[in-house]
Symmetry: C2
Subunit: 319 residues, 2 copies
Amino acid sequence: MSYVQEQAEKVRQAAERIRGHIRRTTALTTDLDPDLRLKPECFQVTGSFKPRGAFNAVLSLVQSGKRPAGVIAVSSGNHAQAVALAARSVGLPALILIPEDANPAKVAATRALGAEVIQEGITFANREQRLREVMAERGFSLVHPFDDWNVIHGQGTAVRELLEDEPELDVIVAPVGGGGLLAGSAISAKSHNSALHVVGVEPEAANDAFRTWKTGSIQTLATSPKTIADGVRTTAIGARNFEVMFVNRLVDEIVTVTEAEIGAAVHVAWSRLHLALEPTGTLPLAAYLAGKLPGGRTGLVLSGGNANLQTVATLLGTP
Amino acid sequence: MSYVQEQAEKVRQAAERIRGHIRRTTALTTDLDPDLRLKPECFQVTGSFKPRGAFNAVLSLVQSGKRPAGVIAVSSGNHAQAVALAARSVGLPALILIPEDANPAKVAATRALGAEVIQEGITFANREQRLREVMAERGFSLVHPFDDWNVIHGQGTAVRELLEDEPELDVIVAPVGGGGLLAGSAISAKSHNSALHVVGVEPEAANDAFRTWKTGSIQTLATSPKTIADGVRTTAIGARNFEVMFVNRLVDEIVTVTEAEIGAAVHVAWSRLHLALEPTGTLPLAAYLAGKLPGGRTGLVLSGGNANLQTVATLLGTP
């Protein structure tokens, strides 16, 4: 079996494993362009695609026979809620480290899903160190947000479903932060049709994946990037993600978009698509609207809808 | 055949007639409550349910063999775009009378669909009179927004689809303005299961349908009501709508919601459901959130997404 077929088999197994825990979101068409197909992961449980990977990782842990004492994650966003939900579903405690300056609404949502949240003394800079300390203390297993095979294969189920709904697509476009969603999407796309063009989209202000693609080695941002797309503020893609995306060339292209282009996409998403997306979730739409995609029948993976309402209100209120 | 079965047969014929022109919107589930099913008509062509009725009316006219010189409608909102699109699809000219004070974005959207728009000298008060004059001048056929059997049967296709997706519902809830959507919904609901509880929701500020239900005769508002739900600013339901809803008792209950309850529902729709709905489209959700629905497995018909972005920005920006 080829690399891509082996990886795709793992995505198939993930789809089977997580069925009954996640929603099968149905592809949408839009008046904007008859060639577009939208995968609206804002309708996924918890409001983002993240439970696909989190459930696959947590269920795999439990089914492996080495049931951990609990699971742990570091996240200020959608991954936190996804891990909290997956852990609760299998009766495991979840501990989430969230930086002190995180959005209180997201902290509350994570607590509401039954997770223990530690914020005190957690910063973006020291959180990896604190993670290792807490893991050692409690014997919990880590669910990494992207550099984990089970997470990558779980995220791949979104495009797998999209291609079940719409088998004739020419282009697949997904946001890229750490590369979990993009690597999974690329596996599903290329195993479906090796001629499918796979595009990752990231903010210009966080162009590490773009530079990684160009240079052929993992490039790292010096600090967490300033971008309205808060779901892709990672400083580098993971090693496994790099292997899938660039060593095995399952991703064809990385496209960057400006903050203004993301803002415009949020406006179009809310007013024309009638989808209340978070800025990160509009990255593929931003690339489309900016004329940065190749054309043809195009599937946009709209990754989530957990927007900061104040930010969106400001965007919408600006004509 | 009983009254409801005869009416339902017309809805079935409408569904066949308009297939290929409208989208079959898929029911959604939500984290908010596992008993809720959402019919997201914001994803319908033009962003509201209105093309269901408009296409059924225009296609019926054309198929009757008495092809008119053109079609005409009076509307400042979603019905205008629906009639413009339906007319263009069959190659008929469309003339839309829109009051002078209407939202310029909606006027532009109607013109973009190829319709001729007359705004000069059109007011809410004189528009019926001007309509009759223009119809006589040009020999165009009217597509009434609600008091028209083809429109009622076309609108009924939305709940027909919802019950195909979700046959086990206990309650169906739809907004009520002139009663096209609610009458059609009630036909589809009661013919599916006579025990299904059918609820119409209107703003307290526009409670003519509520008073019509209570008194058993059509009640009329003295002036166009002031409500954020601009899709239901009609002053009375139609005669045909009254026949379906109250003479034949296919609607069980009318519920009213306050402007604050509508505002809260817009907030929840955009932040929790991730649906960018217009205020009118949130009326069933407003009734649900206010605890005004009976409970059980409940289908909410969310009628459209063509919101005034400034209004929504203000709502979302208010914590």
